[in-house]
Symmetry: none
Subunit: 235 residues, 2 copies
DNA sequence: TTTCGAGTTAACAGCGAATAAACGTTGCTT
DNA sequence: AAGCAACGTTTATTCGCTGTTAACTCGAAA
């Protein structure tokens, strides 16, 4: 019943914080989606009805009408997939969000990668055709197998137990081999747009990753350090 | 949604320090952009609205209205890409800058080359057409291959281990073959506009480069010395 | 020959990264 | 509700690398 086209899926983003809106729009476009934006709840509601998007990203806190209201009103006559963006990851928010009929929620701050994964998943579930990028569920590089569906990493037959952030970080590297990324870029992609901690956090996670992924963690071959620039994953 | 033209992208530079403003404008023009300048925050704001530039370089410290304010005011009705030029590379500055809705920031002192790279990246992201120069990821000259993504130099099948400055310097030469550059010019481009060290620093780096790049470092063929003028890279 | 610019080498200070460990938070178990 | 385990982040320390400068040598131009 949702719109289904041969063209790329349309995503409506309703978010008042300018910089986040920009980042979201940009990331979505890069993935191949068509993006429509609004920074007020009432505008969002109007656009949702005019444009019939295939998916909606909806901030909870909004000027005009808040996200919860918008969601409720939309649900009266549509079952378009909705992902709520909530400020505080509190249990109550989550419940409140899902109660209104949202299909998923994600707490700020969130990594772009995770959000994109959820968007993709939700669109697939909702049966939207023409996935802009049918990312394979398993990414392989050398003797490494990363299964995004099972959230599991297999190396030489044995399953590596990965922490969530480690997994995300490794997946990010696997998907962008042979290119240097600065700590800032990595923080933006893996941690989230508004993570404001120190960039040394990356170092530590790199280290942990190396201990699981490298033959000799002290002499890394896969995840190389490019002094003064960042890190590079050797495809 | 942003302004997009067939003509070269317009860049607005707002900077109060005369010499830096001059350098910036000059470098941008050489890259093929159309440049508009202002040395006060209020003038910058006015010009931004009149001229609708495709990108803005905005100093944080400004007479009139400071850069943060200008950025905030612009963001109310525009999503033109903005790069902030910050004096102190402190983490807090970064956050403050990005919070106002800036798309990128760069800490002084910075090399012109890096700035140009960011300008290019941001314009590409924002979807501005008519890229003045779509820089290829790999630059080749003779048996030299410089890979900017991997930050790696390959010569005759073997990978050369390069220090950061060496890499930048070599890349600079590769991109400007057959032309003499004075030490001052090289310092400006590769080191940064307000590097205040001695110019002999260049000599030493040239020497190190030659040892890695020349067949006979004592009789350089690729990086030639033009006595009294500077150095020249033989394309 | 004299002078000035460039080559060469080594010393040193400062920075960036690796590492280990502590801390605070969260979520789960009992 | 309390205790516990796991995880993410921060901090401190160590270590090695890199950039810069200075001193000396060499060679070319005047």
């Amino acid at each position: 019943m949702t719109t289904s086209t041969a063209a790329p899926p349309r995503v409506l983003v309703v978010e008042d914080e300018e910089s986040l809106l920009f980042t979201l729009a940009h990331s979505l476009k890069r993935e191949g989606y068509t993006v429509v934006t609004a920074s007020r709840g009432d505008d969002g509601l109007r656009l949702a009805r005019e444009q019939k998007p295939d998916l909606i990203l909806l901030d909870v806190m909004l000027p005009g009408i808040d996200g919860i209201q918008v969601c409720r009103m939309l649900r009266r006559d549509s079952d378009v997939p909705i992902i709520m963006l909530t400020a505080l990851g509190g249990e109550s928010d989550r419940v409140a969000g899902l109660d209104t009929g949202a299909d998923d929620y994600i707490a700020k701050p969130f990594g772009m990668r995770e959000l994109m994964a959820r968007v993709r998943a939700l669109l697939r579930r909702s049966g939207a055709r023409a996935q802009p990028e049918a990312e394979p569920p398993v990414v392989i590089s050398g003797d490494l197998q990363v299964d995004r569906d099972r959230r599991e990493v297999v190396r030489g037959g044995e399953v590596l137990r990965m922490k969530p952030k480690e997994f995300e970080l490794l997946l990010f590297f696997l998907q962008h081999p042979g290119r240097v990324f600065s700590r800032e870029q990595i923080l933006n992609e893996v941690w989230g747009h508004d993570f404001d901690g120190g960039h040394r956090t990356v170092d530590v996670h790199i280290r942990w990753l190396r201990q699981k992924v490298e033959d000799d963690p002290s002499n890394p071959v896969r995840i190389r350090t490019i002094r003064g620039s960042g890190y590079l994953f050797e495809g």
